[in-house]
């Protein structure tokens, strides 16, 4: 039963481990990312129409949805490729300006971004962003700080952004992480 007046209390659900695969087409220089739920990352060169895809890299990550514990409302997070903590970059970056503003009150800015290429894939909508933000703030409710989640749309040039994307790097290496 979904209740419009419900003050939703979110929980994480449908957690699935996956790979996030990054591919590049040498012909048109297009960069794409997508999730793969296969046991091993699919690393192959293949042709798709006009594109010649090559794997640039892959990392382990997870997919999940959020559901209200009280009314059962389910919000799918299929468009979410990852979360990135803003650590500051160019002065004219909108996310960095927001971060500088909110940092004073210990509100930390995370960017929820969708899949590459950003201009061709569906990014998270307002509801998804706000549910994601509520979820993390409810989970850390006893805390003296807060989380602000913004859409990847706010980032004009992703290549200038040096925030930290949450994903598992080097987990498939034969050696434990360095140092």
């Amino acid at each position: 039963m979904q209740d419009e007046s419900c003050k939703h209390l979110w929980k994480i659900t449908n957690i699935k481990p996956c790979f996030i695969i990054n591919e590049f087409c040498y012909k048109c220089k297009k960069n794409t990312t997508y999730f793969s739920l296969e046991e091993r990352p699919p690393i192959e060169r293949y042709q798709e129409g006009e594109h010649f895809w090559n794997t640039l890299g892959y990392d382990q990550s997870i997919r999940f949805d959020l559901q209200c514990k009280k009314c059962g409302k389910l919000v799918k997070m299929e468009e979410l490729a990852g979360l990135m903590m803003c650590t500051g970059c160019e002065d004219n970056c909108k996310v960095y300006s927001l971060m500088k503003e909110l940092e004073k009150e210990r509100t930390w800015v995370y960017v929820a971004f969708g899949f590459l290429p950003f201009d061709e894939t569906k990014q998270l909508d307002k509801e998804q962003i706000s549910v994601l933000e509520d979820y993390f703030n409810q989970r850390r409710k006893s805390s003296t700080s807060k989380i602000k989640i913004v859409s990847g749309d706010l980032i004009e040039n992703f290549s200038l952004c040096y925030g930290n994307i949450i994903k598992d790097v080097d987990m498939l290496s034969s050696k434990p992480p360095e140092n």
């Binding site: 994480i12 957690i15 481990p17 382990q60 990550s61 997870i62 999940f64 979360l83 990135m84 903590m85 650590t87 210990r106 930390w108 995370y110 993390f136 989970r139 850390r140 409710k141 006893s142 805390s143 700080s145 989380i147 925030g163 930290n164 994307i165 949450i166 994903k167 598992d168 790097v169 987990m171 434990p176 992480p177 140092n179």
Partner: protein
């Protein structure tokens, strides 16, 4: 238990500035995505991961501290970032399992 008490009791080395806080459980994992989806806010997180990304995760769900086990060296970049975001990082020469047993014996769960 409070974090500063834990540091003294288990001879942990503080690698960052420490903001004292209550510990509300312990979570053992070397996968960031696992911690992000399952660890409880306020938990101590024991791991051998030292990448900057651990700060993003600990900050997102407001963990009480990260304990790097096995005496692993933590890069300066990770420490600097942690200090900037008030994330506590501690270090222990013990392997994760041994430290976990000591914590359980002392009633930290």
């Amino acid at each position: 238990m409070k974090l500063k008490e834990l540091i003294d009791k288990f001879e942990l080395k503080a690698l960052t500035n420490i903001e004292d806080t209550h510990i509300k459980g312990v979570y053992l994992s070397d996968m960031l995505s696992d911690v992000m989806s399952r660890a409880e806010s306020g938990s101590l997180w024991m791991t051998i991961q030292t990448h900057k990304n651990i700060v993003s995760v600990a900050n997102l769900i407001d963990l009480s501290a990260i304990i790097i086990t096995n005496g692993k060296n933590v890069p300066d970049g990770t420490i600097e970032l942690a200090n900037r975001f008030y994330v506590n990082i501690l270090s222990s020469p013990l392997p994760t399992y041994e430290l976990a047993i000591k914590l359980v014996e002392a009633g930290v769960k």
